[in-house]
Amino acid sequence: MKFILYFLFLFFSVSMGGIGWWLERKLTARFQYRVGPPWYQNFIDIMKLFIKETIIPQGASRILFILSPLVSLSSSLIVALILITDYFFKQNFIADIIVIIYLLIIPSLFLILGAFSSANPLALVGAIRETKQLIAYEFVFIVSLVIVIIKTGGSLFLSEIIERQMLGNIYFKSFSGLIAFILAFFYLQAKLGIIPFDTPEAEQEIASGVMIEYSGALLGFWKISKLLLYFSLPLFIIFLFLPGKFVDIIIKYFLLILLITVVKNINPRMRIKDVLEFFWFFLFPLGLIGIFLAINGY
C-alpha cells in the first residue's frame, strides 16, 4: 500500500517539477512580450530525447559518462522521497537534514564528473566553472542551515523543524530567519543554474558547457533529474522557512518560482569571479550576522 503511495508521490513531484519549469519558461516569455511554450512542453522535450539516438563520444570514459546521469537521477529521486515522507508520514531518521545536504550535492558532483569524462574542451571549461560555483554556494547554504538549526534548538530532524513552525512562529518572520531565507534563495538560484549564476551552462559562450556531449536518453536522464530538483529544492526551502498546509505549500512553491523568474529576467549573467565574490564576501558575512542574531534569539 505504502509502496503505491510512494510511486504516486514521485509521479506528483515529477509533474510538479515540470509545471514549475514550464512556469519559469512561460513567465520569462511573458516578461519579454512573447507567447511562450505550452504547459506540456518539458514533458514532450524529455519524451523526444528518449526516441533520439544516444551518442557516446570517442575518447570519453564510457562507464563514468553513462553512470553520471543515472546516479544524479537516483539521488534526486531519493531527496524527493525523503522530503515527502517527512512531511506526510512524519517518518524520519536521525540527522536527515545532513543526509539531504549530501544527496543534493551528488547531482552537481556527478555533473562535474560527467563533463570531465566526456573529453570535450568546452565541457571542461563548464566543469571547472561548476566546481567553483559548487564551492561558493554550498558553503553559504550550510551557513543558512546552521541558522535554522540554532533556531530549532539544535535539532537535526526535518519533521521537528516543520512542526515547530506549524505551531506558530514561522522562521521567515524573524530577522535571522529572513537572512537565512535570502541565503537559501540565492543557493536555489545557483543550484538550478538559472541566469545570474548559469556560467557552467552558458549557451552563448561555451555552448551548453557541461551538457555539450550528452545526447538522447542520457540527456533525458539529466533533464528528469533537473525536473525533480526543480520541485524538491524549492520544497526543501519552503519546509525550512515557511511551512504550512499542503495547499499553502503549493501556492508558496509557485510564488518562489515567480521570484526566481523575476531575478532571472532583471539580471545579466555573472562572471565566475563575481559569483565567488558575491557568495563569499557578501552573503557569507550576512550569514554570520544571521548566526549572531539567531544565537541572541532574534
Partner: protein
C-alpha cells in the same frame, strides 16, 4: 502518423550553422526568436550544442573550407536529424555559382529535407519552411 513523429514535431530543437553566409540569413533566423515571431510557442528552441539538435538550419554558400566541417557536423548530430537550407545560397549557390571557392549546393553534400529560398528569406518564410518540414514528417509514415 505515429506517436514518434507526433512527439518529435512538438519539440524541434534547432541548431544554426553558418557555412559562409553573408550574415543576413543568420540575422533573419535570430528574428524568429523575437517577440513578434516567437518560435518557442511551437516548442522550438535555438540550442548551442550539435548533440542536442533535431534540425540543422544551414545558411550560406558552401566553400571549400566549410564543406568538410559541415559534413562532420551532420555526422555528429544524433539521428533522426533534419536539414533545412535557409536562403538561396545553400539551395542553389546563388550569385556565387561561378566563384573559385564554392563547390556545390548543399544537397550535394548532405541530404536536405526542406528548401527555403529568398535572399534573405523573411522570418515568416522561415517559419513556413519549418511548417513544411512538420507536414512532411507527419505525412510520411501514413
Amino acid at each position: 502518423m505515429g506517436l514518434k513523429e507526433k512527439i518529435l514535431v512538438k519539440s524541434l530543437w534547432v541548431f544554426h550553422i553558418s557555412a559562409g553566409s553573408c550574415n543576413n540569413c543568420d540575422i533573419e533566423i535570430l528574428d524568429c526568436l523575437t517577440p513578434r515571431f516567437d518560435i518557442e510557442r511551437f516548442g522550438m528552441q535555438l540550442i548551442g550544442s550539435i548533440r542536442h539538435a533535431d534540425v540543422l538550419l544551414v545558411t550560406g554558400a558552401m566553400n571549400k573550407k566549410s564543406a568538410p566541417i559541415l559534413k562532420d557536423l551532420y555526422e555528429q548530430a544524433p539521428k533522426p536529424c533534419f536539414v533545412v537550407a535557409v536562403g538561396t545560397c545553400p539551395c542553389s549557390q546563388h550569385m556565387f555559382k561561378d566563384s573559385y571557392n564554392t563547390i556545390s549546393s548543399l544537397d550535394a553534400i548532405i541530404p536536405v529535407d526542406v528548401y527555403i529560398p529568398g535572399c534573405p528569406p523573411k522570418p515568416e518564410a522561415i517559419i513556413a519552411g519549418i511548417a513544411k518540414l512538420i507536414n512532411k514528417l507527419t505525412n510520411d509514415k501514413r
